[in-house]
Structures are given as structure tokens and as C-alpha cells.
């Protein structure tokens, strides 16, 4: 009897997970039995054990506690994980949508006009490889607002993949389809909407997927710098608290949210893709 590939893969994933968690759990030494403490231990308040990487069981218990009440707000240093994620998502979405609003029209322009492509290419080539966080000091100085600066960093990092993919997709639209538009006397705007946009949409969406991935990577780092709120700030804050359980929990949560963002765009991409 052979199970479908999907089921077999699922079983194997489960085994890998159980093995990893099991080994991790076993490798974790239980705190030494309460006995005579050395002078050092007494000085450290028996904290050395507490500071070790926590076992999965603790993390799961912590995750359960956090996720069962994700939106509590007990002052600036104690907010629910849902609120922190919410702040991060809000920044990412604002920066990302602003980037799309700029990148897609400019990408169209570059893709449709060889002149604009050549004229703008040097700027893109120089600006693209700059680490988004390198913009942070300049953003903070010019914008004078840490919140807006974080959004600007998201904007600047998510603009390039969308811009380049849009230009690439638009420039690569099959000549035949353009000819169909021409023989049907479609104007520039209607050609762009009726023919070029749907033809280039899968490529544009690929750029958008890459961008959301990068934006989610960058927001964590940006929030560590600007502080205050957000999942990046949360990770750093828990590190300062030496609460590794929370750190590991939030790392995993960052991964899950990133995956969900990618899945959402993958779904949109499926909607606009076409078989030729």
C-alpha cells in the first residue's frame, strides 16, 4: 500500500519535527537539584540555569499563554504579541503599498520606453544594492520621526524587486499581443490596461512576493533600531530581559507571519497567472 505523496511528506515532516523537538528537549538539563549553593551561585541568584536555552516544552507553554491573550496592553513594556505583530504589519503594509504605488507605474514606464530604461538604469543599479538600514540615519534626520523612518525603510527596500520585475514583465510582453492591440487601434492607456497589465501580471506579482518577503525581513531589524513597538522591538526587548523563551517564541512567530504573507500573495499570483 502506498500513500499519496502529500501524506507521506506530511508524515515525514512530523517525524523530523518530533525528532528535533525530542532531541532538543532531552539535551536540556534539568535544573540541578536544590542543594548547597556555591558562593557564585548565591551571588548570581541561581540565574545560570535560567539563562540556558529553554526546552521546547517551556516554549510551547509560553506560546500558549501568549496566544491565548494576544492583545493585552499593560504599559509600554508589556503588550500582547498580537499588538506587536499588528504594529509591524501596519508599518510593512504602509511602506509596501507606497512602494507598489511608485514601483509599478515607474516599472511600466521603464518597460515601455527603452529611453527611460537607459536613463534610469544607472540610478537603479546604484540604489538597489544599498542595505535598507543604511538609509535609517538619513531618514531619521530628514523625517525626524522614528515611526515614519521605519516605514520609509520598508518603502525603500520593497521598491526594487517590484520595479525591476514590472519593467522586465512589461518589456517582455510578446510582440504578437502588442500587435493585436495595435491592429485593434487600442490607445496607449487601453493597451496598458487590456494587454500589457494582464500579460505582465504574473511577473509583477513575482516581484511583489519578493518585496513582501524582504519587507518582512527588514521590519524586524528596523524595529530593533527605532524601538517602541513592533515584533522586532519585542525580540530585542526580551533579549534585554534575558527571556529566551519569549525570544524563541517570537522568532517562530516572525517565520509564521512571513509565511502567511507569502501565501497570501501566492494566492493572488495564481489568480493572475495564465497558461500559454
Amino acid at each position: 500500500m502506498t500513500l499519496p505523496l502529500r501524506v507521506r511528506a506530511l508524515i515525514l515532516s512530523g517525524i523530523f519535527l518530533a525528532l528535533t523537538l525530542g532531541l532538543w528537549e532531552l539535551s536540556h538539563k534539568a535544573p540541578a537539584a536544590a542543594g548547597e549553593m556555591t558562593e557564585y551561585e548565591m551571588l548570581m541568584g541561581a540565574a545560570s540555569e535560567e539563562a540556558a536555552v529553554p526546552p521546547p516544552s517551556k516554549i510551547i507553554a509560553h506560546a500558549w499563554a501568549e496566544l491565548s491573550n494576544p492583545f493585552y496592553d499593560a504599559g509600554p513594556n508589556d503588550k500582547g504579541i498580537g499588538i506587536q505583530i499588528g504594529y509591524s504589519l501596519q508599518r510593512v503594509l504602509i511602506g509596501y503599498l507606497a512602494a507598489a504605488a511608485v514601483a509599478i507605474p515607474v516599472g511600466f514606464l521603464i518597460g515601455m520606453s527603452p529611453l527611460m530604461y537607459r536613463a534610469l538604469d544607472p540610478f537603479i543599479q546604484v540604489l538597489k544594492p544599498i542595505s535598507p538600514l543604511a538609509w535609517m540615519p538619513l531618514a531619521l534626520f530628514v523625517i525626524q520621526d522614528s515611526e515614519a523612518s521605519a516605514i520609509f525603510v520598508i518603502f525603500i527596500c520593497s521598491i526594487w524587486p517590484m520595479l525591476i520585475n514590472t519593467a522586465f514583465g512589461v518589456a517582455g510582453v510578446r510582440k504578437d499581443w502588442i500587435n493585436v492591440a495595435r491592429t485593434h487601434e487600442l490607445g496607449h492607456l487601453r493597451t496598458a490596461v487590456i494587454v500589457i497589465l494582464p500579460a505582465a501580471a504574473p511577473t509583477i506579482l513575482t516581484g511583489m512576493r519578493i518585496s513582501i518577503g524582504i519587507a518582512w525581513l527588514v521590519i524586524v531589524a528596523a524595529e530593533m533600531l527605532v524601538g517602541g513597538t513592533g515584533i522586532g522591538y519585542y525580540v530585542w526587548n526580551e533579549w534585554n530581559n534575558l527571556d529566551l523563551t519569549s525570544v524563541i517564541f517570537s522568532i517562530l512567530l516572525i517565520g509564521v507571519v512571513g509565511m502567511l504573507l507569502d501565501m497570501a500573495l501566492a494566492r493572488v499570483q495564481r489568480l493572475v497567472s495564465y497558461a500559454d
Binding site: D176, V180, H184, E185, I194, P198, V272, Y274, A275
Partner: protein
């Protein structure tokens, strides 16, 4: 004589080449096409027939000469000239129906949605694409079905001139035969002028009123215009019994096999401004009245040549 519907005057295409002299693909192409005429053009690859079609469509420009349709010079593409390309050129993200409706909407922007749909359905019905198939995307259709959609789209916009660029080249022989007859059926109900490229001699005889023969490139020209006077309606099965069928076929094959090469690079003996030599095959037993000079000389069933300036 009234002015022909479509006039091609001294058309030529030359590509500059970085090394050596510029390359002239074809030159001195002079054609007259009447309203409602079905004209096929045959020639070897590289003789520039696709370029000629693209110039007629307004998608390409010629180096010399001009195309005048209905008294107006062709400059740029227009809904007056519909094009069917070999690779169908359907928009793959639209259903068959939408591939037609977008064209109909472009042609008649003021029509209501219902009228556009009704008109599009009418033409899809003509090519036998209804009953659910019209809602499929091109990749869900066979090659033959796709080309039917393409033909429906071209006829639906009712262009003054229909340009077919080897429309059946990518289809298997059986499908090709079926669609050829469908094309004939759809065409015969209209007064549609058609200019079509083909590589298939039998297809050309079946469809055309006139077959233009091109010499090999470079410096290709249209050497002959063979009139096909086989009565219509024509059918694949019966046309081969026409007394002139094999005479015409042999003439075409012989031209393509040998004379297209021999005539390559030569000038039109009647002068560069002249239209191609007319070749006619008078109906056996009932010689068709042609130009008086040709009629007296023509042996029955044999090609007669007459220069028409």
C-alpha cells in the same frame, strides 16, 4: 477602369547591413486587389511575403512604395484591416468569447454590452465554437479551435481587408482541411477582401481567386498572378475533379520548384512599374473571354500569359 480597392505601388524593403551593401528583401511589388477578391501569395521562406502582409496591416513600413486602400494611404495599423497570425495571437488570459468581444468593443465602442455579446456569439457560431467551448481559455482549446477563434475575431470586426498570415501553417493536415472549408463558408457569405499567405499549393487553389507567385529572395518580386477560375462553391473533394485543377497545380509546383529560383533577382520584363504577369487557365471547352490578344493565342487548358500594365 475604376480604381482598384487595394493598390500596392512599387513596394520594396531594404535592410541596412553593417558590412557590405544593404540587403533588399523584395522590390517593385505592384498589386491591384479588387473588393471581395480572395488573393493568396506563395513564395519560399525569405522572399518577404510576411513583410508585405505586415506592411499592408500597417505593422511594418516599407522602404519604398506605398499601399493605398480605398483611396487612402495605409499608415499604421487600423481596424479596417484585420489580421490573423499563424500563432493565433489570442490573449491567453481571456476566454475565447472575451477574445472576440474585446475586438468588437474596440470596433464599436458605443455598442451596448448585449449587442457586443450577441455579435461576438454570431461569429463564434459561424466557426462552430459554442456550447461551452466559448468560455474556455485558449490553452484549453486545440490548435484548430484556437485558429477558429482567431478567424471569428477577424471576421467579427468586419474589416475592409482581411490579412491571413499562414493561418493554417501550425495545424495538422486533417484539421487544416476542415478549417479551410469553414473559412470558405464564412467568407462566401460576405464580400470580404482577403489577402493570405500560404505555403500550401492545394490550399491556395481551393481558396483563392488569384494566386500571386513570388520569386526567391533577396530582391524578390511578385512574378506571376495566376487566376483561379474554378467555379465556386468549391469543395476539397470535388475541386480535384475540375479539368483545370492539375494544370494549375502543376504550374504552381513547377514555378516553386524551379522558376522561382531562375527568376530570382530578375526584373519584371514589363518594367518595374508593371503588375505581375497574369496567367489564366480558361475553362475547358468554354474558353473564358480574356483580353483579345490572349484569347486568340491560348490553347485550351494551357496557361495563357498576358501582361496587364
Amino acid at each position: 477602369m475604376t480604381r482598384p480597392f487595394l493598390e500596392v505601388q512599387g513596394l520594396g524593403k531594404t535592410y541596412p547591413s553593417p558590412q557590405g551593401p544593404p540587403l533588399t528583401v523584395f522590390r517593385d511589388v505592384n498589386l491591384h486587389i479588387q473588393k471581395g477578391e480572395f488573393v493568396c501569395i506563395i513564395g519560399h521562406s525569405g522572399c518577404g511575403k510576411s513583410t508585405i502582409l505586415n506592411v499592408l496591416a500597417g505593422l511594418d513600413t516599407a522602404t519604398t512604395g506605398a499601399v493605398i486602400m480605398d483611396g487612402q494611404e495605409v499608415a499604421g495599423p487600423s481596424l479596417d484591416r484585420g489580421v490573423v497570425f499563424q500563432n493565433y495571437s489570442l490573449l491567453p488570459w481571456l476566454s475565447a468569447l472575451k477574445n472576440v468581444t474585446f475586438a468588437v468593443k474596440a470596433r464599436w465602442p458605443r455598442w451596448s454590452r448585449d449587442k457586443v455579446a450577441e455579435h461576438s456569439y454570431k461569429y463564434l457560431e459561424m466557426v462552430g465554437l459554442t456550447g461551452g467551448a466559448e468560455h474556455r481559455k485558449p490553452h484549453q482549446l486545440s490548435g484548430g479551435m484556437r485558429q477558429r477563434v482567431s478567424i471569428a475575431r477577424a471576421f467579427a470586426i468586419q474589416p475592409k481587408l482581411l490579412l491571413l498570415d499562414e493561418p493554417f501553417g501550425a495545424l495538422d493536415a486533417l484539421t487544416r482541411g476542415v478549417i479551410q472549408e469553414e473559412l470558405l463558408r464564412v467568407w462566401s457569405g460576405t464580400n470580404q477582401t482577403v489577402f493570405m499567405i500560404t505555403h500550401d499549393v492545394d490550399e491556395a487553389i481551393l481558396l483563392a481567386d488569384r494566386i500571386l507567385l513570388m520569386t526567391n529572395g533577396p530582391e524578390a518580386r511578385v512574378a506571376e498572378a495566376v487566376s483561379i477560375d474554378i467555379p465556386r462553391p468549391r469543395q476539397r473533394t470535388s475541386i480535384i475533379h475540375d479539368p483545370n485543377y492539375y494544370a494549375i497545380r502543376n504550374h504552381l509546383v513547377e514555378f516553386l520548384a524551379t522558376r522561382s529560383k531562375e527568376l530570382a533577382g530578375t526584373a519584371n520584363p514589363d518594367g518595374d512599374d508593371a503588375t505581375p504577369q497574369v496567367v489564366q487557365f480558361p475553362t475547358q471547352g468554354f474558353p473564358r473571354p480574356v483580353t483579345p490578344a490572349a484569347a486568340t493565342k491560348a490553347p485550351i487548358g494551357a496557361p495563357t500569359s498576358s501582361a496587364k500594365g
